[in-house]
């Protein structure tokens, strides 16, 4: 029953039948994600734009761990790509109110990375820019 419902329902199961095929595939090591790049800070264009993860202590006092900001940036990127305007606004607001404590202009860029190296070093290969956004002062 579990097998049948796993392939014949959109949820992959029909209560209370479940195939128990969990974590069957190892996630890909090389994947595409998104990063936030600061290009303008307090109305001044930066000579060398800085990625958000490298900006702690330079532009923003709040120290954040990768899991704190990575998820929100990734979901923002995914929603920009999908054209989900409402969700873009929702995640943009979260980022601008929680992480970017100063008026900034920032870009969301596509990145490619090795999951394991990224976890350890945060290193990635920069790809195409998908949006340039300005944090509104009233939101800050």
């Amino acid at each position: 029953m579990g097998f049948y419902f796993s392939s014949h329902t959109s949820e992959g199961e029909a209560y209370p039948f479940f195939s128990w095929f969990v974590f069957t595939r190892v996630p890909p090591q090389f994947i595409t994600g998104y990063a936030l790049k600061i290009v303008e800070y307090e109305g001044k264009k930066l000579d060398s734009p800085v990625f958000f993860q490298d900006s702690h202590g330079i532009y923003f006092k709040k120290i954040l761990t990768m899991t704190e900001y990575d998820y929100t940036i990734r979901v923002l990127g995914e929603n920009i790509e999908r054209g989900e305007t409402e969700k873009v606004e929702q995640y943009r607001k979260t980022i601008e109110e929680s992480f970017l404590s100063q008026p900034v202009v920032y870009e969301i860029v596509r990145i490619e990375f090795d999951t394991l190296k990224y976890w350890k070093t945060g290193q990635f290969t920069e790809g195409e820019r998908i949006a340039t956004l300005t944090a509104k002062e009233k939101d800050l």
Binding site: G2, E11, A14, Y15, P16, F18, S19, W20, F21, V22, F23, T24, R25, V26, P27, P28, Q29, T65, T67, D70, Y71, T72, R74, T115, L116, Y118, W119, K120
Partner: protein, 327 residues
């Protein structure tokens, strides 16, 4: 017909497990009865724990009632949760008081069935209570083994058979999870992808999962940074899961295997921040003092019962003529 007899003979040589021989002795039956009794007692305590936890109540927008609670379509999540949790509490206490009665056991099953329905209507892929659901369903079929003092062999046999089926279904779930990983590994191997038998498998699962759920764990970073340490553990987990159903027929390994599975759940929590507490509890109940385990089982017999390794060790270490051979 001849082939079936041959297969039967072959299987009973691998799994010399007979419910009848256990039923003939009094102790396994008495022990199984006590475990069943405490299963229902503890469920009452669990019901109190469950009504205290409302972590999903903030998820009104994700509330989509499954088929078994159609009446919830007209109610809010909070009202539905209150009704179901109250029913679960009542049914669990009915079970704790009257577990000897089949009607009471049906009530308990319905309580868990509704609770699971509630969780599945809010939190997708929430299967914490599924094993309890299956076990409580099977326990409905227990014969009346509490009335009177003497019980016929037939009653004892039926009781132990139901109890064994509860053990088997719990272990079957793990075997399915193991089979899924092996099937996925074969697919990924031929697709040229990183597969479950590769050293990076555990590290990738942890890094990807924690990133997806936006969480951290106590040991997650360690295993992502020390890929090779996680390799034998992940392979061990697949072995443990895949051969679980096999273990149902090897009572000498019941306790060790259950401990291994609980250790696995603890490891998953410490690395991936995912806890299967109700299932761990069920494993303790069903296997830590299994009615089918003989008390005079030697360690050699236990090791010899291990899937694959036991077969190898029996041939290498415990050969007939060897002073350490199994008697």
């Amino acid at each position: 017909m001849k082939q079936i007899t041959t297969i039967k003979k072959y299987l009973s040589s691998i799994f010399p497990f007979s419910i009848e021989s256990f039923a003939a002795r009094g102790k396994p039956f008495t022990k199984a009865k006590t475990i069943v009794q405490f299963f229902y007692y503890f469920l009452a305590f669990q019901a109190l724990v469950v009504i205290n936890g409302g972590k999903f109540l903030s998820q009104e927008e994700n509330f989509s009632p499954v088929w078994s609670i159609p009446w919830a379509n007209h109610l809010s999540l909070a009202t539905t949760a209150n009704i179901i949790q109250f029913f679960f509490l009542i049914s669990a206490f009915i079970g704790a008081f009257f577990f000897q009665n089949r009607i009471a056991r049906i009530f308990v099953f319905l309580g868990i069935f509704q609770l699971n329905a509630l969780l599945s209507s809010v939190l997708r892929a929430d299967h914490h209570w599924y094993p309890w659901l299956y076990v409580s369903f099977l326990l409905i079929f227990l014969p009346d083994a509490w009335a009177g003092k003497a019980h016929s062999l037939q009653v004892r046999k039926k009781f132990l058979l139901v109890f064994f089926s509860a053990q088997a279904v719990t272990l079957f779930i793990y075997s399915m999870a193991g089979l899924g990983k092996i099937q996925g590994a074969i697919y990924q191997y031929f697709a040229g992808q990183t597969h479950a038998f590769a050293p990076e498998a555990l590290a990738l699962h942890i890094a990807y999962w924690l990133r997806n759920i936006d969480s951290t764990s106590l040991l997650g970073s360690f295993f992502v940074e020390h890929v090779i340490v996680g390799w034998p553990l992940f392979l061990g987990m697949i072995y443990l899961q895949f051969f679980s159903l096999w273990i149902a027929f090897k009572p000498s390994l019941h306790k060790i295997w259950a401990f291994g599975l609980i250790f696995m759940h603890t490891g998953i929590y410490l690395t991936m921040d995912m806890l299967f507490f109700p299932t761990a509890l069920l494993l303790i109940f069903l296997f830590f003092d299994s009615p089918f385990k003989k008390h005079d089982t030697s360690w050699r017999e236990t090791v010899g019962d291990l899937p694959i390794f036991g077969w190898m060790l029996r041939r290498i270490l415990f050969r007939p003529g060897n002073s350490h051979s199994i008697s």
